[in-house]
């Protein structure tokens, strides 16, 4: 099985581990993430105002190219997923805007394209049971907080990856990998997003609150699906340890890093060393993650 | 020797947690006359009642004491059970060991509660021993009803009763029925025209053979009791002979004098001989005597000259009519609190500050402007209208503490009517909360805001004043935290609804309760909402409290159904707990007569053979007596006793303590 795959800019650069471990995991699970032959940036933010049609052209082009391979495209980055999925919905519902976009790109748009997040592929096409069978390094005993943030979930009507206000899909995956999911109040709150550019203080507060909320519930690890969340949470921690002596840092990792590692990939694939706090130290400390069979 | 059974209820844990009911039962066993005692989980349950009946038969009991909850709860239940077992129901007495014992003595050792329960039960047993079997009193009933007030609630009640075959007397103090509803333009939330839905009912009331209309009339006096009232109605002089008048209108066409129209809320003048509005029922005019030059000075008489059927009668006097009836529905309605009380809004000083009811008249197609919304000052179309809610309502200091309930809705309606008539106009509403509970009400308010563009400002108005032909409104929008100022053309006040000025006086005449504002009290605000403490007198509509048309109509129908079910009985049965006079002992001092709050004591003479009265004594009218016992206490010669609570019984109970 080959599934068209859109990596997006960030996964091609600073979040390489997110990308590599996902590709490798797919192979282990018996399918291939087939990267689109050509792709551009999705725009990194969905144009909210309906008159901003130009903002739709870039993601629309990605969808047009994907549809040439298969009527399904998958992605990993929460933001890419959000932008692509909302664009697909907008263009499918609004033929007027679809027409303008087509005229601009000079290509036909295929409204049947379906955008799926990688975790949806795992849940609905592979099954977490199958994932569980493939686990070679159970990460038992590690308390992990699944941080969804905004982009996977909102607006609910469009995104619908899981139950809007109380999603559990990530937790279910982590459970399959042998981790102990931790429920925490701020799991769907905002990290501060692109305010990283203008208001570090605000990001430090919001992301710091997310981490404290998670660690306060016993989390030893925070799992995300968004490179910007990952960056903001790490930045917030770096800042926090400077300001607060009692701050206990936790690794902030992508869910595919854990997935691949648990399924026995070589450690290099996940690029744990690229995270500011290396999760392997935690594994060592906890005495988990040694290969079984 | 009596054969008494004592049944002590555990009421689950309600009683049992602080009263050892078994011990109470055990203790009562040895009292003389007691032949059976027991403790039981729920005496009021069907098995409990069955057990009661079974024990009465098994032990041949002639009296029963149930120590349980308040007699308000289950006295009727247990008495009925006793009756079914062949016992006189009044040989069953209740001891309250729940509300007056277990619930107020939280002593978990059960010591206090148990001892007190024993005392109370013993007292009841002693009282029961001296108790006599009583028979319910049966009374005749006059199957005619009186409705006071011809607004929508009263009309609905009258129509429903008439439909049920009851003869109804409908008394209205204005020259026409219709009440405040006749003034309204459209009604929320359906926006149907008020007169279009009301006038058919008015006409129906006029034409219905079972309904006798007395308009321009008031209830002067009420005597009697449930099933047997006598009322005196004052029919005010109309100066028009109703039986001759054809309602042709010639008289008011030609009348040369004018006065402010009450119906049009001073927005228009009417003639001195007039009907309040074109669809008046009956369509018979009245002469406004204080303004009539003929009546006051003996000059004019134009109306009499032009009247074809010669119906004008300047000599007419108030007439008093006595009617016998069996039940009364009170539906006297509401009026608006005087706006002048709120000086900051300038009502009365600024012509373009009007009340909600005045706005209704402006918007009404039959109103003074034919439905054009214009400023009273210069007749121009207002481009900006500010509506102020809660004028007097929810204002403990200057107004009333309660919410008038309908203003939020009618203000929303006003903004819509205004927008529909003045398309370029802008409505502003100052509100504290928007209270739109009711079917399709919230949606209605949202429509006013979202569809018709009414601008709602959450806050109060501090001052309204005139400047360069504009009405300046200063206030606050607390949602944005700013003071605001609006240059308006007109201001409409949603003034508090209050009871009629005459409400208290009428309540006293009827012997029904009222609150501090003068709204009539229901027997029970939830479970008996249209009854009063005075049996046979029912309530409907806004005389109870602010309510809208659907609620008023429902209550009118509810009151009617109460009357119909009362009249469905051949004879009225009532509790025999009434006072009795031992006539030979009575020395006719009449202290009882003065003391009785229900006018139940009458003087009765004993005549000799020639028919001359030789002696007087007091007599209790069983129909009127409420069994309060005031006469018993007042009687100097101790010749009055209250059935079921005779001195002998009460003293026995006290002695047993």
């Amino acid at each position: 099985m080959k599934i068209p795959y859109y990596p997006g800019c960030t996964l091609n650069t600073v979040a390489k581990g997110f990308d590599l471990s996902a590709r490798e995991s797919a192979r282990t699970l018996g399918f291939e993430l087939a990267e689109l032959e050509q792709w551009s940036c999705c725009g990194a933010s969905f144009p909210l105002t309906p008159d901003n049609i130009i903002g739709l052209t870039s993601p629309a082009k990605v969808l047009i190219d994907a549809a040439k391979m298969d009527p399904v495209v998958t992605t990993l980055c929460s933001v890419c997923y959000n932008v692509l999925k909302r664009t697909a919905e907008t263009l499918a519902e609004d033929t007027e805007r679809q027409k303008v976009v087509e005229d601009f790109i000079e290509e036909r748009y295929n409204p049947s394209i379906e955008v799926l997040h990688f975790v949806e592929i795992l849940r609905d096409r592979i099954g977490f049971e199958k994932v569980k069978e493939k686990v070679k390094r159970p990460l038992g005993g590690i308390k992990a907080a699944s941080y969804y943030g905004c982009m996977l979930l909102r607006p609910f009507k469009t995104m619908g990856i899981d139950r809007a206000e109380a999603p559990t899909v990530m937790e279910e995956l982590l459970e399959a990998l042998g981790l102990e999911p931790v429920e925490f109040p701020k799991k769907i709150e905002c990290c501060g997003a692109h305010l990283a550019m203008t208001r570090e203080d605000v990001v430090a507060k919001l992301s710091g609150d997310v981490i404290e909320s998670a660690t306060g519930c016993g989390a030893e690890l925070v799992v995300t699906s968004c490179p910007l969340c990952q960056y903001n949470l790490e930045e917030a921690q770096s800042r926090a340890i400077e300001e607060r002596r009692d701050w206990k840092t936790v690794p902030i990792v992508y869910f595919t890093q854990l997935l691949g590692y648990a399924m026995g990939q070589t450690e290099g694939v996940a690029c744990f060393d690229k995270n500011r706090w290396d999760a392997r130290e935690l594994f060592k400390e906890k005495g988990v993650g040694s290969c079984q069979g | 020797m009596p054969r008494i059974g004592v049944f002590v209820c555990q009421c689950g844990n309600n009683i049992e947690s602080t009263v050892d009911t078994r011990k109470v039962a055990e203790e009562m066993k040895d009292l003389p006359g007691v032949v059976f005692t027991c403790s039981y989980k729920f005496m009021c349950s069907s098995p409990g009642q069955e057990m009661l009946k079974e024990m009465i038969k098994k032990h041949d009991l002639d009296g029963v004491v149930v120590s349980a909850c308040s007699p308000h709860m289950h006295e009727a239940t247990f008495r009925k059970a006793c009756e079914k077992a062949g016992l006189n129901p009044y040989r069953c007495e209740i001891t309250n060991i729940r509300e007056q014992c277990s619930w107020v003595h939280p002593d978990k050792t059960k010591k206090t509660g148990t001892l007190k329960s024993m005392d109370l039960t013993r007292m009841t047993i002693e009282r029961l021993k001296r108790n006599r079997p009583l028979k319910t009193i049966s009374m005749s009933v006059t199957r005619r009803a009186l409705v006071i007030g011809g607004g929508i609630a009263g009309i609905q009640a009258a129509l429903d009763m008439a439909e049920g075959g009851i003869e109804v007397i409908l008394v209205e103090k204005e020259p026409s029925i219709g009440g405040n509803m006749a003034r309204l333009s459209e009604t929320f939330p359906t926006m149907d025209c008020s007169q279009c839905i009301l006038t058919p009912k008015m006409v129906e009331a006029e034409l219905n053979e079972n309904i006798k209309l007395y308009t321009y009339s008031e209830v002067e006096k009420v005597d009697g009791y449930i099933g047997n009232f006598t009322v005196t109605i004052r029919k005010k002089a109309r100066y028009v002979k109703e039986e001759l008048c054809t309602g042709c209108g010639e008289c008011w066409e030609k009348c040369p004098y004018k006065a402010e129209s009450e119906f049009e809320m001073e927005l228009k003048e009417r003639k001195v001989i007039y009907t309040p509005f074109p669809q008046s029922v009956p369509n018979i005019p009245v002469i406004d005597a204080p303004d009539c030059v003929m009546i006051q000075k003996g000059k004019c008489g134009v109306c009499a000259k032009v009247c074809g059927p010669k119906a004008i009668d300047f000599e007419q006097k108030d007439e008093f009519i006595e009617e016998k009836i069996g039940a009364i529905v009170v539906a006297t309605g509401y009026e608006l609190m005087p706006n002048e009380r709120f000086g900051e809004y300038g009502y009365g000083k600024i012509k373009d500050v009007i009340s909600g009811l005045q706005f209704e008249r402006l918007a009404s197609s039959s109103g003074p402007t034919g439905g054009r919304i214009v400023r009273p000052s210069d007749g121009k179309e207002p481009e900006t209208v500010v509506f102020i809610q809660c004028v007097g309502s929810r204002d403990e200091k200057k107004g009333v503490a309660y919410c008038s309930k309908v203003c939020c809705m009618y203000t929303a309606k006003h903004t819509m009517l205004y927008k529909h008539k003045v398309h370029h106009g802008q409505a502003y509403v100052f509100y504290m909360d928007i209270r739109s509970g009711g079917k399709r009400y919230e949606e209605f308010v949202r429509r006013a805001i979202e569809h018709d563009g009414a601008m709602y400002l959450r806050g109060r108005v501090s001052r309204v004043y005139e400047k360069d032909g504009k009405v300046i409104v200063q206030g606050a929008d607390t949602l944005s935290g700013t003071q605001v100022e609006i240059e308006a053309d007109m201001v409409v006040l949603a003034t508090a609804m209050v009871p009629r000025g005459s409400a208290v006086e009428l309540a006293q005449r009827l012997g029904i309760g009222y609150d501090k504002y003068g709204f009539y009290n229901e027997y029970h605000p939830k479970l008996r909402p249209v009854e009063t403490v005075n049996a046979g007198i029912y309530l409907a509509g806004t005389c109870i409290g602010p309510m809208d048309i659907p609620d008023s109509v429902s209550m009118g129908s509810a009151a009617a159904s109460k009357v119909l079910s009362l009249f469905a009985k051949e004879k009225l049965a009532r509790e025999p707990i009434v006072a009795h006079v031992d006539t030979p002992v009575c020395n006719a001092c009449w202290d009882c007569l003065t003391a009785c709050p229900y006018k139940a004591i009458e003087k009765e003479g004993i005549r000799d053979r020639e028919g001359n009265i030789v002696r007087w004594h007091a007599k209790v009218n069983e129909g009127v007596c409420q069994g309060c016992g005031v006469c018993v206490a007042a009687c100097r010669s101790k010749c009055i006793d209250l059935a079921g609570y005779r001195d002998e019984e009460v003293f026995a109970a006290i002695n047993a303590f």
Binding site: L48, N52, P155, M197, Y231 | -
Partner: protein
Amino acid sequence: MKIKIENRALKSEELKHLERITGEVPARCYQCGNCSAGCPLSYMMDYPPSQMIRLLQLGRIEEAKRAESVWLCVSCMQCYARCPKDVSAGTLFEGLRHLALREGKDYRKIKELDMPFLKGAPQQALVCGFRKFVS
């Protein structure tokens, strides 16, 4: 503060323009405050989302445009997700940003940006930030 409310302002062309480009109708909002309750940036804003909408309802669009809130909103869509009246405060914020950016009033100049940030941050932060803050 004290303001004079004018019929004209309630129906101003600019307000109508904002409604047109955003597809949102501020009048639909009944000021329950759910957006302000859930907004992660409320605590920093000079006017939280519901008050921003209030300003628009009152025709005070100039004040709304000047508000710092406009540049604090990160389009997390919590406001819209929770809004019982289906009003998207986030979209109105975006519309207000457009009004400013289309007038050439950038919130940040690229030159002013911090170099370490430009090097270390994920691309998506830069792309998104540029789109939100720069014309």
